[in-house]
Symmetry: C2
DNA sequence: GCTGCTCTTGACACTAGGTATCATTTCGTG
DNA sequence: CACGAAATGATACCTAGTGTCAAGAGCAGC
């Protein structure tokens, strides 16, 4: 059972990394916690707009910078959709390595555990001589709600 | 042993799809064949610039449109690199479903066969109720030549 | 509580990469 | 060769994001 992250956890992580706990960072953390890890997906621009309602003094550049930091700190996950757009979602605490199954219609996100077998990575490292450092797997489809809709045009 | 594609093959594919074999399309096909499938990677912009040297009358929009078409026709493969940039490369004829292992330093591309087991796809379709329509897998690392370089800063 | 140093911010100009529009050109069929 | 549709090139525009920098605000030490 994965728990949602708290504002304090995010701010503590900033401190732990030697960064300051500023007002914009707090405002953005609050918005993220309000959204929670409920499969909610958003772009940096979305988050900026949402934060603006309660903290209109937050600048766009700051919003983008903070999203980047939160991703580095492991609180946000970047997800690629079938249409090529990139968005983020809040990582539920304790979620280990996983990938995403996304709906190409409504952008719903479902985390999945499936991944390449470690043996396969080793095999390709051997064959190619590469030092493998990471990978991304994105799976696309239509969620149950969107399969009925004939919005295929 | 996979063979490189020819200009005629590309132009025939356009015709077969009910499209015309125009001068810009020919010019771009020629540039692509000149590059070949030799792990060469390029952006639409790169291709446009290259084509301009021999056919300066080709417009930017046309270059982008043609790259899109060639991708739809299966002659080009879109590859995502570790830094998030998207580029293309020429698909060698007869290459079936595959993914790419890319060098995060020099952008070298190695095709790999490894993929998720079909059973895993079925399992996640069952669990989630999604109708799965596609996926992308990108693997990042450093090629043998770039492992020595201490360009880590 | 005040000082001062540094990190961070907000404003804004700018860029990369790509798309929409539309009058003009050019295929290729008849 | 003439014609209609498809394709083009020029251009304006767009999205998503980055670089710059003077001004502001945390936080440590006093």
């Amino acid at each position: 059972m994965s728990k949602d992250v708290t504002v304090d956890q995010m701010l503590s992580a900033f401190e732990a990394a030697g960064m300051r706990t500023t007002r914009p960072r707090r405002a953005m953390a609050e918005q993220l916690v309000a959204w929670g890890a409920k499969e909610k997906e958003f772009s940096s621009e979305d988050l900026w707009h949402a934060v603006q309602e309660k903290a209109p003094w937050v600048g766009r550049a700051t919003a983008y910078r903070t999203v980047q930091l939160l991703q580095d700190l492991g609180f946000l996950d970047r997800v690629t959709f079938a249409d090529g757009t990139e968005r983020y979602h809040v990582v539920a605490a304790g979620h280990e390595h996983h990938h995403h199954l996304t709906c190409e219609m409504c952008h719903r996100i479902v985390p999945v555990e499936a991944c390449i077998a470690p043996a396969a990575f080793e095999a390709m490292a051997q064959q190619s001589g590469f030092a493998i450092s990471g990978h991304r797997l994105e799976i696309f489809g239509r969620c149950p709600d969107c399969q009925d809709d004939a919005h295929s045009c």
